[in-house]
Symmetry: C2
Subunit: 368 residues, 2 copies
Amino acid sequence: MTSITIDDMEDFARGAAFLGTGGGGDPHAGRLFGESMMRRYGAPEIVAVDDVPDHAHCFTIAMMGAPTVILEKLFNGEDAELALNKLEKYLGIMADYIVPAEIGGINSTLPLAVAARRGLPVVDGDGMGRAFPELQMITYNVYGVPIAPMAIANDHMEVTIIETDDAKSAEDIGRAVAMRMGLSVMLSAYPMTGAQLKKSAVRGTMSLALGIGRAIRKGRQAGDPVAALLGYLRTTKYYKHCAELFDGKVVDLVRETTRGFSIGRCLFEALDGSGRRLEVTFQNEHLIARDDSGVRAMVPDLICMVDRETAEPITAETLKYGQRLKVIGVSAPETMRTKEALACFGPQAFGIDEPFRPIEALIQDRSG
Amino acid sequence: MTSITIDDMEDFARGAAFLGTGGGGDPHAGRLFGESMMRRYGAPEIVAVDDVPDHAHCFTIAMMGAPTVILEKLFNGEDAELALNKLEKYLGIMADYIVPAEIGGINSTLPLAVAARRGLPVVDGDGMGRAFPELQMITYNVYGVPIAPMAIANDHMEVTIIETDDAKSAEDIGRAVAMRMGLSVMLSAYPMTGAQLKKSAVRGTMSLALGIGRAIRKGRQAGDPVAALLGYLRTTKYYKHCAELFDGKVVDLVRETTRGFSIGRCLFEALDGSGRRLEVTFQNEHLIARDDSGVRAMVPDLICMVDRETAEPITAETLKYGQRLKVIGVSAPETMRTKEALACFGPQAFGIDEPFRPIEALIQDRSG
């Protein structure tokens, strides 16, 4: 059984930030909030997906909004718990487990914090195996869990509950509500049983985030954190196909907060003087990386940026002109690459007119 | 005791359209829907505000959206009842009475239709004594009834429930939801007891709408419907200060659907060859009428347009270039002219930088 203690939170938050693939909000803020809740209420138990009883009630808790705005707001444990409490009351069901919606940034630490406050265990798994910008982009939706009812709360203790059969419609209505309620809100959606969880979750991702953070820390001690990170990823079940896609500095950056998202693109130039370039586009999370020869990695595979010396994960909202980074491509879990999963969060779902090709095939092309 | 039968619906809908002051949607569509429900389920009982027991539960039902869009959508009794049913379930309270939110256009006939379906009585009163474009612009809000919880439903059977202490915030969130849910939605808000109703409602307005419609019909038989209309208004408790402000044709019209409203202005030129002009601005409903000498009438007083021959009320969304109309100014009920009421829906609430002056004072200025 995995545990995530206060002492693990630095590693865990760093690993989750890496899996955020540029999104997920400021991991430091999420870490501090998680730590303060654990200090007050104790660390929550972490339970494997397959150890959750079929009839147990699992509730998600997540933050919704553009990361640029999340950065500017302080946490308030009450609003997160309010979304959960209102959904429980609406359904007439109490949560037995808190289950993460995404593993990436704030939305990985938030379930720990709320579970600590409520004295509930947290499921070791999520619905994305990474972060995604929209609520329907989640394996819970792909594999049959209804998104609604969904509760949204803000720090003025305002609450909105949405009922619809259509996950994209819930995203659209929820995003409109979030923009009016302050652009950064707490939500609880996809209430599900243990049986539904087992059919739809990406297993073990909380543990994997912790493992990634630990690998980076140990790599720093050993002198090559990026190599240590890649070495660890290659030992994992999901993230084993990975490669350093680029080593460069930011020479152009376009980023705007629009439609409730951070949307833009970042251009890198190689540090080796070759003049090679890599472009990465993002909608909260990184979507596609292209160089002069073509696509290097694409959603749902992970495109992650880290500091080239320390392997510190860099989120899209903290990208800066002149910053020197390594861009790493990582395979997504297989359950996220099925035909129905790609229809939900493959390249086409983001308006990218390229068929999905897994990173291992793209790596093979280059080395062949 | 007043009754509104199927045979009364033509008069009632016409009178309500007049009180819509340019807004409230297509009265014909509302009338047909009301009639079809009454034919199937029988006409609902109409009960005076003061005959509602203090502990009775009163629920509003209304349509929200830009009238230009309402025109394009067909009615579906299920969505209206769904908003009511969901609010009842959320509160754990069943409605004893249906109470209109506004007297004006569709939102006057809709309560009759839903009450007929549900076999409930309808209160003879409303919260506006006319129509207004925003949810917080209502005497229920002015005199202490909380707007929330509020339920919104659309014809896809999607539902959103909003909880907030702030009526303007509920309007903002609700408008954003409405725009995503199809721009024309059904809502139930301001759930209240009979005691709260008595403190806040504008009494007798359903009867008054019927009276206005009857006066127009009888005026047509007698040959001067506008005179008959003005004559009837002068006998009423609220609308007794009234005047024909202008007799002219539409020479300029700017109208757009924006932020979820029909917003614009209409310019009239006198038919008497004098070259005099009158401008009326609107946000769903008419807001202020000005001629070369100054203000002729302003919100919350009513500015109504009628066909100059038939006295048929003309809504802002059916205004046409070249149309020949009479513009009539009418006093609002006194409960809508108090300091707290003017703060909520006086000229300043619409961004008009003129202090409110009642129509009777403005008439006096011109005749003096």
